[in-house]
Symmetry: C2
Subunit: 412 residues, 2 copies
């Protein structure tokens, strides 16, 4: 039975009357997920504060991070340990610092970016905090829409790279935020081989969800640094990762990796900025994981908690929006992207807010908040329990339908 504007309005009024207060905005782990790593918080280092080489990790120094932990993540991420640095709790800080060093000092082989016309390619929809970073520095952002099948538009990217202003590109290669897109090997090899007018062009390869699988398929991370070297562009890629969605979101360890030349460059500038990261938290993580398999085993326990939530979202959207909207069915990561009918996303989010359901602002997944079709709604299912997630998705679906019905209704 098709909905009428009147029946949808009545349903919406009933929804409002329920006085819900639900939040689907951020990709935060749930308390149950954080509980998986509570063992980390009980590790006693009071008599165990040396690394395998015998260095007292309580003191200053050790800018590269604790070797034991770097070895574990070198295996997890498929990166040579000498090219992998471990930092403090936020990979966003590593990205920020890379941008700052590039702006003020220039990357190897380039001049400082500050004062120049610098542009970044932004596959969209993408991660709002990436865009906030580049926007804050006045870097011009060029939206490059994903293709309908979720893959990168390589011809468009190739065309943009002919512009010498294009110095960077954001990319979440695995289970992208928010589309769940995965860059395959052929695309990765193409990306690092494309001719670029700017000799200092860099891909900011944010592998935030490298091991965050929602299915039993657990593909290994691509050897992007190896591909870049083979393509003759060894310095093209900065790699980022973290344990924020592996252990404790606010108290994990972040990683930076790149070519030997880029790592030397980063280390040089980092050396005036800090006397080293918190090595005790890194040691705690090494003790907690034991080895790379420890990381993978933990991620399977996350999957047990997350997969049912994603299944729930898919089921409810199917029940409520089948034929009216489309959405992603990601094999990993933290988000579902709902493609609402064109011109309805902002209104649907507004309606949801009015009914007590907080949704990431429409447009947030686009540079400058500009979703040209006003269609994308990012759903973050991880934080709420299923008992809250189900009514929240039902409510959101109703808001999408009402927004669509309003479009066809005479102006009030």
């Amino acid at each position: 039975m098709p909905h009428t504007l009147e029946s949808l309005r009545a349903d919406y009024d009933a929804l409002k009357a329920r006085g819900l207060s639900l939040d689907l905005t951020r990709g935060k782990p749930s308390a149950a997920q954080l509980d998986l790593s509570n063992g980390l918080l009980g590790i006693d280092l009071s008599d165990d504060y040396r690394d395998a080489a015998g260095t007292d990790l309580r003191n200053y120094g050790g800018a590269d991070g604790v070797l034991e932990l770097r070895q574990i993540f070198a295996e997890v991420l498929g990166i040579p340990v000498a090219q992998l640095l471990a930092g403090n709790n936020a990979s966003l800080q590593f990205m920020h610092d890379t941008l700052v060093h590039a702006l003020l000092h220039g990357v190897p082989g380039g001049e400082p970016w500050v004062g120049q016309d610098v542009a970044f390619l932004c596959p969209s929809p993408g991660y709002d905090r990436h865009f906030a970073l580049t926007e804050s520095f006045g870097i011009r952002m060029i939206s490059v829409p994903y293709l309908a099948d979720g893959s990168l538009d390589l011809p468009a990217i190739a065309e943009h790279l002919a512009d010498p202003a294009v110095r960077g590109m954001w990319l979440v290669p695995t289970y992208a935020n928010p589309t769940g897109s995965v860059v395959d090997e052929a695309t990765a090899r193409a990306l690092v081989a494309l001719p670029a007018a700017a000799g200092d062009f860099r891909i900011f390869w944010d592998n935030a969800y490298a091991v965050h699988h929602l299915t039993e398929a657990e593909p290994a991370p691509l050897d992007i640094l190896g591909f870049a070297a083979e393509a003759g562009n060894p310095d093209r890629v900065f790699v980022y990762a973290s344990t924020s969605k592996i252990t404790q979101a606010g108290a994990g360890v972040s990683f930076f990796a790149s070519s030997p030349a880029n790592v030397a460059w980063f280390r040089e500038h980092a050396s005036v900025q800090t006397i080293g990261p918190d090595k005790l938290n890194q040691l705690r993580h090494a003790r907690f994981f034991r080895d790379a398999e420890g990381v993978r085993a933990l991620m399977r326990r996350h999957r047990e908690l997350l997969a049912p939530k994603f299944a729930l979202v898919d089921r409810v959207l199917g029940e409520k929006l089948s034929g009216r909207a489309t959405w992603t069915k990601p094999a990993g990561g933290y988000f579902v992207t709902l493609y609402a009918p064109d011109g309805t996303a902002a209104r649907a989010v507004q309606l949801a807010k009015g009914a007590g359901i907080a949704i990431t602002p429409a447009g947030a997944a686009y540079p400058y908040g500009d979703d040209p079709r006003d269609s994308v709604i990012r759903i973050a299912p991880s934080l709420p329990p299923e008992s809250e997630l189900e009514p929240a998705i039902e409510a959101l679906a109703l808001c999408v339908l009402l927004a669509e019905a309003e479009l066809g209704a005479p102006t009030r």
Copy 2:
């Protein structure tokens, strides 16, 4: 009996023959000092990860830091808690970030510094890492020598402030690195009241040794933010502090404080750079200290370990160099400054190195490494045990005497 060049050379050859390997370079806490906070490393947060307000500190968020810990250090540092942010493990990072935000965005009331002629006043001798930061950003450094009594040269500072290029000033107000100088209230009030041609002039008030007393006198930190507000220049001062030399040097908590306008400015730029500091380490610190008195009590135990080392340095220098050199007798902090005869510091450090004694490079305490009198040698007594400290200081004294004797000797 006066030394002869020949007898000093013989002594030096004997020293070399001992094959020592001693290090007086960095102001690192000793293992015994770090042991004082081993209890911190055993705190079990696995069932205790909420702040007093009930917030789960394992997750993202909480950009200002954990309130309980900020309250403790608000009392320790004499700063309103609303104006005090707690960060990760390095106050140097806060200083770096302040400079970066100032360069790229400008401080409140000012334009971005980048691309402008920007100069910093550097009371000298000072902290080499301060100077490395400003030098890395191409900020022009103007050395302002301390007066003979260790106080700031206010007339010289006032004169420099007539230059609109002067946007900043480094200052370690309490037990300065390396002179041990202490800024008194009258000087502090004068500093924040001086007319400055640059409306966005800022003092980087690095209170790294605020509670690091070597005597039983424990003066409270000056209310520098209050003084600045009273003087009508509320935004003039950025305050930094950390627990690096209170708990674990590499895994402590850093602090940033300033006027409400400056804190809002810093918070705005930090919000694109991180989703918050490691709050669990902050909670661990709050649990460990309990309260401000807990911090002070811990610092008394540090004093018990440090004061004898400073007494040893003073005694040996007195025995070996009385009448030939002068040196500071600090009431706190981490350093003794030895004023060797003019023109001998670099040579003495070189001789010491040849005998296996690592000393901070001569000149390091000056901007651009330029000690105009080639006199200052920074001694860091904290790290080595007294059994190593005594021969190291004896050896250094011998090297100073030999360098002096060489000066008067015919050119070889």
